[in-house]
């Protein structure tokens, strides 16, 4: 992943910036140019609340090469308290502690090392609340 590609995702990966539709209030993460609910084209930039709950999850045992040293690792679909949904790793827990409905917080963490140079790429991961 070359530098411009990584850099332009930083507002979402580091700061959870989303777009809120000015007409119907739909919260788009990542931001979009056209609202999928009402077709409106104007959005306000808002940060997502970094808290939410697990809608579903898995524990990946066989991963692509870039993640092969991390296995097994949990990945879930998280719904934030303001209603956006995203996919993130769920870390700092045992797989048996995970359950649908459990509360999580989103934290800035290292996601993967890119390419032969091993450049660190950061983004959000979820940890169980409490």
């Amino acid at each position: 992943m070359i530098v411009p590609r990584y850099t332009r995702e930083i507002p979402q990966r580091y700061r959870l910036e989303a777009g809120r539709c000015k007409k119907c209030g739909y919260l788009a993460f990542p931001p979009r140019q056209v609202c999928p609910e009402c077709g409106h084209r104007e959005f306000d930039t808002v940060p997502l609340k970094p808290e939410g709950k697990i809608l579903t999850f898995t524990v990946v045992h066989v991963a692509a090469d870039a993640f092969s040293t991390q296995t097994p690792f949990a990945v879930g679909i998280i719904e934030t308290d303001d209603g956006a949904r995203l996919t993130a790793q769920i870390v700092d827990c045992k797989p048996e502690d995970l359950a649908i409905g459990k509360r999580v917080q989103l934290m800035l963490r290292c996601i993967q090392k890119e390419g032969k140079a091993g450049i660190l790429q950061y983004g959000y991961k979820a940890v169980l609340a409490e």
Binding site: E9, D65, A66, V75, P95
Partner: protein, 383 residues
């Protein structure tokens, strides 16, 4: 618009075919289809392939394959819709003939997956690269998340999932071109290696090399060729967000329902009229969710239906008589075409040991990604 038929079918055996290249595979399947149809020319060609660029570092395969087929000069285009690429190629051929632009069209699909690339990475490019794959999720992982949500909401069990694989291997054992012709037990599925919890190795379709091709023409020309006329009664496609997290209900794949509703309407039939269905069982859970989206069973009841034997050969509605993606193999771009071939063979009464007796009306359901695209065909044999 003109009525369309499928008059020729051809496919390579599916498997780990170390001695064959992408072009070898495609030409072998295409020649078999051309010979089966008995046509002396092809007006245009569509080839479905998910990612020849990643799997063998070859793009521009429409022209390459037309050339190696001895047909340089004809219009030839690669069609891509992730794992639904093959179905989409068939659909392009159907539209081409229907419109009157071409009379005889070859629709093929090919994938060469065993040349040593990181297949987990390549396949994950069918997911949202920046917002799913970036976080390490894999395709088994995405379907595992659908499975867990389905188990939670409807009480679908691990045994239900296993029974899909057991049934498809039972069928695959009867298909000479299937990658896996061994029968397996529920216990073997439940004890196989964990891939993405709760999905295990035997819940997953394999990595496969293979190609498949069909010849699409008008019903009028088909009659002159003297083959059983298998009519295309419906060709429908639908899309959805490719990111699973963007779907409202994680137990559903709405693109399948959308495509199915269009297809039933085009064909003027309902799910109760079908004699057999080939569905996109890339993972065991996919077969269950698709059965529900196609309206073959009530929502949440697909697991029980499979475990009851309803969808086995000899059951009320046989599903994946070819062995499905699970046992027949899943050379991604070829899959949608191979599904059409299975239904054509069944409707012609040429399916050998796995023949569904009296089959008249069949459906194929081909799906891309975690459900971001779906292509459905309904075929009927003229009596």
């Amino acid at each position: 618009m003109r009525e369309v038929a499928i008059v020729g079918v051809g496919m390579t055996p599916f498997g780990e075919l170390w001695n064959k290249s992408l072009r070898d595979l495609f030409v072998e399947a295409a020649l078999e289809a051309i010979d089966d149809a008995g046509v002396d020319r092809i007006d245009s060609l569509y080839v479905g392939s998910m990612s020849p660029g990643l799997f063998v570092a070859q793009e521009h395969i429409g022209s390459l394959l037309a050339d190696y087929l001895g047909m340089a000069g004809i219009p030839a285009t690669r069609v891509e819709s992730a794992c639904a690429s093959g179905g989409a190629a068939v659909r392009m051929a159907v539209l081409d003939v229907m419109s009157g632009a071409s009379d005889i069209v070859l629709a093929g699909g090919v994938e060469k997956m065993t040349d040593g690339v990181d297949t987990t990475f390549a396949l994950a490019t069918a997911a949202d690269q920046e917002y799913e794959a970036f976080h390490g999720i894999t395709f088994p992982g995405l379907y595992a998340m659908i499975a867990r949500a389905h188990m939670e909401k409807y009480g679908t069990t691990r045994e239900h999932l296993a029974d899909v694989a057991v049934k498809n291997h039972e069928h695959g054992a009867l298909n000479p071109k299937a990658q896996y012709r061994n029968r397996i037990t529920r216990e073997q599925v439940l004890q196989s290696t964990m891939v993405a919890d709760p999905l295990r190795l035997l819940d997953c379709s394999p990595i496969t090399d293979g190609a498949a091709a069909v010849i699409v023409t008008t019903v009028e020309l088909a009659k002159k060729l003297g083959k059983p006329v298998v009519k295309v009664k419906a060709s429908a496609q639908a899309t959805d967000a490719i990111a699973l997290h963007a779907r409202k209900d994680l137990t559903r794949i709405p693109a399948v329902e959308k495509a199915a509703q269009k297809a039933y309407k085009q064909a003027g039939i309902g799910p109760e009229d079908l004699n057999l269905v080939e569905v996109h069982d890339c993972f065991t859970i996919a077969e269950l969710v698709v059965m529900e989206e196609l309206g073959l069973v009530e929502r949440g009841k697909a697991g029980e239906a499979v475990s009851s034997g309803m969808t086995r050969l000899g059951g009320k509605l046989p599903i994946n008589t070819s062995g499905g993606l699970k046992a027949k193999g899943h050379p991604v771009g070829a899959t949608g075409v191979a599904q059409v071939i299975e239904v054509v063979l069944q409707l012609r009464g040429e399916a050998g040991e796995r023949q569904v007796s009296g089959a008249r009306l069949g459906m194929t359901q081909n799906m891309g990604g975690s459900g971001g695209s779906c292509v459905i065909h309904i075929l009927e044999v003229e009596s």
